[in-house]
Symmetry: C2
Subunit: 513 residues, 2 copies
């Protein structure tokens, strides 16, 4: 793979000065355009030590407007990072629209060095790369320019520089792995070869840079970045054309005559549950203990609530929070995004809220807005929301790893019951704020929401995060149903976690022998 | 202090239902007004265990629009928190304009419990409280409504409930300190008495709530919150009146004939430094090693750059970053705030960027914008920017604790040199973006900036963070001066940190005896 990067190509200073002059202008112009077009740019700079990663980072700030560039390095995870899905640390540093994020090592650095040291098995390494590939695809699809650079040195040059640094005591290591891998050229190259093979895709290609000669290296880097930004601009244009075409030829998205999943819900369950107060109190008391144990075991819960306006989401959520210690619970209502959130991938705002292990997070509306309101109100082009199903599944898969709980509730009521509740809200002084003209508008669009909800159930009911459609015509019934469902999920998760324990104690015994 | 909270007052259910109905309406209306007036509300709920802190938190979400309420609990610090100034963890959770932040325990919870357990000395406890008092004053001054509740129980009631929980195995502890303090009623009460005495101030008063009777407790809580929100609204009105009055009677803020600090700067130092390239390279090499060692010792550096447009800030910063490993460096250009940033105290955006211990952060423009551009352009009322000097000193004091470095540079050039550089920028293709109509406008306001800069030097040159005014008429001279200044500061900080070591080893010896 690296043969062409070891040809020892060079560029003399005079030629460099001339070529660089025009490349700089092009780089700068490309940055200006990305800023105007609100395209975020992610530049990953990975490479062998001594290949000049730091020098390249500094050059980028010199070549372009450094006010819109920020650098981030990733090495040892902090405990806040360790207690969340592994990609969380990268999500929170992703560049916003128009900004250039320079990731030193990026999501490759730690994985490659851990694998090279033998602290990451081949299969774990591959699964990380698989995940990264998915993330890059999703980011590129959302319009991000992705440039990935590997600064390479042939073995002889590498050894020479390594010896020189050792002799001059200039060997600076930021992680224990830097030191361990420094002497293992072949191992590092083998690991990065795997990483490149697994993640080299048209939307997020690798550029292998022959870094032995600094001038030649710098030219290659500049060219790769220009190419990446231009690729993203071309993709943006192509997409705009597709979206325009789709709009011109758009038919009504409301399909008549289809039978909805929701039709199958028996809304007749409307008799008053017996002993409601007592049952509720008992469930809450049980939940208090179960969530506390889940907290101690580091099992997170994410509960999301979707459904018709006035279906009783708020009421259910209040019964839930009343049953759980407020210190480990967080309710996140989802409304219009802030400008910082709008400047990122639509999942960014949800990633930033992910709590540490053990907490309960309740979403009042959620990331499903992408395929519900954004679809129905045509706020988002079809190709974006239709891609969201897979992105959401991928996201939820990460939320549910390590035995974490994710429950998705759709609270279902009939149009008649909704009308009754709207009227009641209008008449009760402290409920008036809950009813706005938007609610009435949404009500009129019910026919458009039904197929959107149907497709959502179909495409995002996964084995690890199925939908629970709750008949909410009777509020009390719905509340008990949700609390029971969560209780059962907690019990099951705690049982699974208890089953795992014996394996741990076995290990100890083995050590004891 | 708690005598009045132990009178055993109660409220029967009928009276409660009636009173609560009207209180609820008032609460809800106060929230609505705070939202409209963009007033953030901070409610601290502290209290003895068993006093119903969790129940109160849940009630708040029921009484008001829970979409604008978020709860946060603070207990064991994470390592990300431990490696930053102690108040960072609270800053990042502060409510935005119009939002209600409910802090369980808030900044009091951990301090009170640590002090009660004897893990925080009296003097450390007092110094924490002193700092918290300053923070609350600053937040209240910026318009935040601050409500602090202590839910109290008399000893007999407390013991009864504690025994009951033990008997029912309902003793849930989220930190080791919860458990340690649970049996020590007198100790807890002594610690909280100190905390309340030290931090009970008109703008951020404590309300001690007799929590033995749940109804009475709830009424007291609701009343205290209404009072806090109304206090903040009254303060907002009073301020608006003051600001209007000031504007009506405003004279020109440009004072003529004053001699500026800047006049004393010898801009004649403009001869080319000898061996510039060689000296620069040597300084950079030295900085590389020093910053690496500072990183290893956890000594952070913050360098901020202010000065006239085109004074060469960018050039100096590039020479700095070229001399430091990019992985431990972050350049933060400060321009217009985002809407999330605007919805918070003006220092919030700087708090959120504070890196972990050991890093170098370079600010291209900084929090001094508050007393420079915001003052000169009259973006901020006088009473706000004039208060900022003290707030900034307080902030910088926290940045420089534990031997951390903070250097503040003002790059100074003459108006003639500035004009020459503006012209040059206009003529150089890749520098054109650096010159905008705003730069020309700022240039015309130089006479207004000079007294603002003077007052800034006067009021914020502290022993721990003095200003360095650098003659920048000659760029090379300025670059070397800044790098030397940083090198000297690093050397001194590392020396101080090395001196501390022997004390540590002594302690070990003592243990050994």
């Amino acid at each position: 793979m690296f043969e062409s990067a070891a040809l020892g190509r060079t560029c003399d200073d005079k030629e460099y000065a001339e070529t660089m002059q025009s490349l700089r202008m092009r780089l700068f112009e490309a940055q200006r355009q990305c800023l105007a077009r609100k395209i975020p740019v992610l530049v990953t700079i990975a490479g062998l030590s001594g290949a000049g990663r730091g020098a390249v980072v500094n050059l980028l700030s010199e070549w372009m407007d450094s006010k819109h560039i920020h650098n981030d390095a990733f090495w040892m995870e902090t405990d806040e990072e360790r207690l969340r899905p592994p990609l969380w640390r990268y999500w929170r540093k992703l560049p916003a629209a128009g900004e250039i994020g320079v990731f030193l090592g990026g999501w490759y650095g730690p994985a490659v060095r851990l694998h090279c040291c033998g602290e990451l098995t081949d299969s774990d390494f591959l699964s990380r790369l698989h995940r990264v590939r998915g993330l890059e695809a999703s980011l590129a699809d959302s319009g991000m320019a992705i440039v990935k650079l590997w600064l390479h040195l042939d073995k002889a040059t590498y050894d020479l520089r390594h010896q020189h640094r050792l002799a001059h005591k200039e060997d600076y290591h930021f992680t224990p792995y830097d030191k361990k891998t420094a002497g293992n050229y072949d191992g590092l190259v083998a690991s990065i070869t795997t990483a490149i093979t697994q993640t080299d895709r048209p939307q997020a290609p690798w550029t292998i840079v022959d870094a032995a000669d600094a001038n030649y290296r710098n030219l290659s880097v500049a060219q790769a970045i220009i190419a990446g930004m231009e690729r993203a601009m071309a993709a943006q244009d192509a997409k705009a054309a597709r979206v325009k075409q789709e709009k011109d030829g758009a038919a009504s998205t409301v399909q008549e005559g289809l039978i909805s999943t929701l039709d199958a819900i028996d809304l007749g369950i409307s008799q008053e549950p017996q002993h409601y107060r007592k049952t509720l109190a008992a469930l809450q008391e049980e939940l208090y203990g179960l969530t506390y144990h889940a907290y101690q075991k580091g099992i997170s819960s994410t509960l999301i609530f979707e459904g018709w306006d006035a279906a009783g989401k708020g009421g259910v959520i209040r019964r839930l929070t009343a049953g759980v210690d407020a210190r480990i619970t967080r309710v996140i209502p989802i409304s219009a995004p802030s400008d910082e959130e709008l400047a990122h991938h639509y999942l960014w705002r949800f990633w930033r809220h992910i709590p540490r292990a053990g907490f309960l997070t309740i979403y009042d509306r959620s990331w499903y807005g992408r395929v519900l309101v954004e679809r129905v109100e045509e706020l988002t082009p079809r190709e974006d929301w239709s891609r969201a199903y897979a992105e959401i599944n991928h996201f939820e898969e990460q939320l549910t790893e390590n035995g974490n709980i994710l429950l998705k509730f759709w609270l279902h009521i009939s149009p008649e019951e909704q009308l009754r509740r709207f009227r009641e809200r209008e008449e009760t002084p402290w409920k008036q704020y809950k009813i706005t003209s938007e609610d009435w508008r949404n009500r009129e669009k019910r026919d458009a929401y039904v197929p959107a909800a149907d497709e959502m159930f179909l495409r995002t009911s996964t084995s690890y995060a199925p939908w629970h459609v709750i008949a909410a015509e009777n509020k009390k019934y719905a509340r008990l149903a949700v609390l029971r469902c969560y209780r059962d999920a907690l019990r099951a998760a705690l049982d699974r976690s208890a089953e795992k324990k014996p394996a741990g104690s076995k290990k100890k015994q083995r050590k004891g022998k």
